[in-house]
């Protein structure tokens, strides 16, 4: 057995080397860099320089507030929407099911730049279809890009549009794993469809919903594309700047890698902490 293992590891060596160099080492390296002052050369070991700055940096707290706000509002809305979409997709009354599944999944495969450009056009103050629709029903135009609240709403709408279908497909797989005869038994028990949804479907979907929520939390903690491309680098005036964007600004524009690394570790820590709390809250009763 030992010889067989050794042979297997020899075959794995090229992969393990690449994995160690490009995956393990950057993780360790960025952790070490977060303890160094990197604004000027040469870099020097100064643990309080970045971590101390983090605690008192208004830009960090602004980005943290924006990220958490998106997380608290957008993730529950998107997951709820995904559940509804999955239930509709699973309906035996639905025709052209394959087409709908493709349509719901399509936003994930559309290029980020293309989708962002389309969203900017749709929400444009003067030419956008959204404002035209608002006007047509007697509502005033909204300047989605110049005010913080509409800009945040726009980010949430865009992220929801992009990922709700993806989550719906995952939840659909969960729905299809619930045996039909459980619903038939409930029907014979005179349990209404609505009660069946809340007392059978939702509890049985819990593991899948938790999985989707964890994926979404991790995704939202790293949110970058939408505030970078749609609201133009976290605009207006940093009103939609997220932790991911702040990290990018510090690391790739100011070349302050130490501080960027500290932000990256904070993001990862927060994602893990929130996920653990969620898993604990949603745990199965013994």
């Amino acid at each position: 057995m030992r010889y067989r293992n050794a042979t297997a590891y020899r075959f794995l060596t090229p992969y393990l080397l690449i994995f160690a160099i490009f995956w393990i080492w950057p993780i360790i390296s960025s952790f070490l860099i977060s303890f160094q002052a990197t604004r000027t050369l040469p870099w020097r070991f100064a643990p309080a320089f970045n971590w101390g700055r983090l605690i008192g940096d208004p830009a960090f707290f602004n980005a943290l507030k924006n990220t958490l706000l998106i997380l608290v509002i957008q993730v529950p809305v998107m997951i709820s929407l995904a559940v509804v979409m999955a239930v509709l997709l699973n309906s035996p009354l639905l025709k052209a099911r394959g087409l709908y599944r493709f349509a719901f999944f399509a936003p994930v495969v559309v290029g980020e730049v293309a989708y962002s450009a389309v969203f900017r056009l749709m929400f444009s103050l003067d030419f956008g279809i959204i404002n035209k629709l608002l006007n047509s029903v007697g509502l005033e135009k909204i300047d989605w890009f110049s005010n913080v609240t509409p800009a945040m709403a726009l980010i949430m709408i865009a992220v929801t549009w992009r990922w709700a279908g993806y989550n719906a497909i995952i939840i659909l797989a969960g729905l299809q794993s619930i045996p039909e005869d459980v619903y038939e038994a409930a029907t014979l028990d005179r349990v209404s469809k609505v009660k069946q949804f809340f007392h059978i479907t939702l509890p049985l979907l819990k593991p899948v919903i938790v999985f989707c929520a964890v994926l979404s939390i991790i995704g939202t903690m790293q949110l970058f594309t939408e505030p970078f491309l749609i609201t133009e680098r976290g605009g207006p005036g940093g009103g939609t700047e997220t932790l991911g964007l702040l990290l990018y600004r510090q690391g790739f524009r100011s070349l302050n890698f130490g501080y960027a690394s500290a932000i990256a570790y904070t993001m990862a820590g927060l994602a893990i902490a929130i996920t653990l709390v969620q898993l604990w809250l949603m745990r199965e009763p013994k």
Partner: protein, 361 residues
């Protein structure tokens, strides 16, 4: 309690008809088993009675009331599913009480019904467990318990023992039989296992390809099958069918020659229209109706291929490659593979069928 009547019941899936006008009258408190091979329409028939499938034609009445357009929950029935269909996220107690709780039944009454069902099925100590913590037999008990708490007029069982091992199946069979005696409620039970049908039923409905082949008490079906299909389906091992030709005829009997067994001849008394000389017929003999040489009316030589000794009974599978026979008798205990021996057929313990499979009486 209620009688169940099916009148010309038809079921179509699209243009494909799977049940072709079933007529079945089930008396109040009767235990009726629908039996037949896979795809014969027995589960579909049960699901139509339950209201889980629409009826394409005909009428179904429960307790004298037409239920064609009555919702499943309002038919006064309870169903036990093959896969148990327990709610996996609920405890046994919650599973039993779920339907009543969802319908706002008073808590005291719900508790009473749950307690009663648990007592009947001896599952009191399992009440706080979830389905995944139960064995197959325990799950089936809970599924039956869930049906009991509904206090239905009719119990429907859809192959409830199929997922259990042989020993547990026998045990649960006895329990279901006891339950029927205890509750005295009409029960309709679907199975493909003729042993279950024979042991449980007051009457059996034999189905084949969507048609009711025969309805009758278990022993009536065994002794007096209406056709070759019923004769072959009821009884285990199944009846032997021997090719024969009518060679003589008198006023009340025919003599048939067994072409594949050395031209042995058997004179068979009949009471209905006699088949003409030269007609091809089939002689049916159950494995347990072969006798020792000279005890019957016609002796045929056989060659044992495989002998199965089960202790209380022995089977010899004979004549591989020709007209295969299964012989069950006390003397088979001494037989081994390759043995040549002779068995005897009694005219009164054999059945005659025409080429279409209809019985010639």
């Amino acid at each position: 309690m209620a009688a169940v009547t099916l009148t010309n019941v038809v079921k179509r899936f699209g243009t494909f008809e799977v049940v072709h006008g079933a007529n079945i009258a089930i008396a109040d408190g009767e235990f009726v088993v629908f039996v037949g091979p896979s795809g014969c329409g027995k589960s579909t028939l049960l699901r139509m009675i339950a209201g889980l499938e629409d009826i394409s034609g005909g009428e179904i009445a429960i307790g004298g009331k037409l239920v064609n357009d009555v919702e499943a929950a309002d038919r006064g029935i309870a169903m036990v599913f093959q896969s148990y269909a327990l709610y996996p996220h609920m405890t046994v107690e919650q599973n039993l009480s779920f339907g009543l709780r969802m319908n706002g039944n008073p808590k005291a009454d719900t508790d009473r019904r749950v307690k009663r069902a648990a007592g009947i099925l001896c599952i009191e100590e399992l009440m706080q467990r979830r389905p995944k913590q139960l064995s197959g037999g325990q799950r089936q008990r809970v599924a039956i318990g869930r049906a009991i708490v509904r206090e239905p007029q009719v119990f429907l069982f859809d192959e409830p023992l199929s997922n259990l091992d042989a020993e547990l199946r026998v045990q649960m069979r006895v329990e279901i039989s006891r339950l029927h005696k205890e509750l005295g409620v009409t029960m309709i039970y679907v199975t493909h296992d003729q042993t279950e049908a024979m042991t449980l039923a007051d009457r059996i409905v034999v189905l084949k390809a969507g048609n009711v082949e025969q309805i009758g008490a278990p022993l009536d079906l065994y002794d007096d099958p209406a056709n070759r299909f019923v004769a072959g389906f009821i009884g285990s091992p199944k009846m032997n069918f021997l090719k024969a030709n009518v060679v003589e005829q008198d006023q009340r009997s025919v003599t048939v020659e067994l072409a594949n067994h050395g031209g042995a001849k058997l004179k068979k008394p009949l009471c209905e229209a006699l088949p003409a000389v030269g007609t091809e017929v089939v002689l049916g003999v159950r494995p347990e109706h072969f006798f020792e040489v000279g005890e019957g009316d016609c002796d045929i030589p056989v060659k044992a291929d495989v002998a199965e000794h089960l202790g209380s009974v022995s089977y010899v599978y004979a004549n591989a490659g020709a007209e295969e026979l299964v012989v069950e008798r006390e003397a088979a205990r001494q037989r081994a593979s390759g043995d040549h021996f002779t068995v005897s057929i009694k005219a009164e313990r054999s059945l005659l069928f025409d080429k279409t499979g209809a019985r010639i009486r």
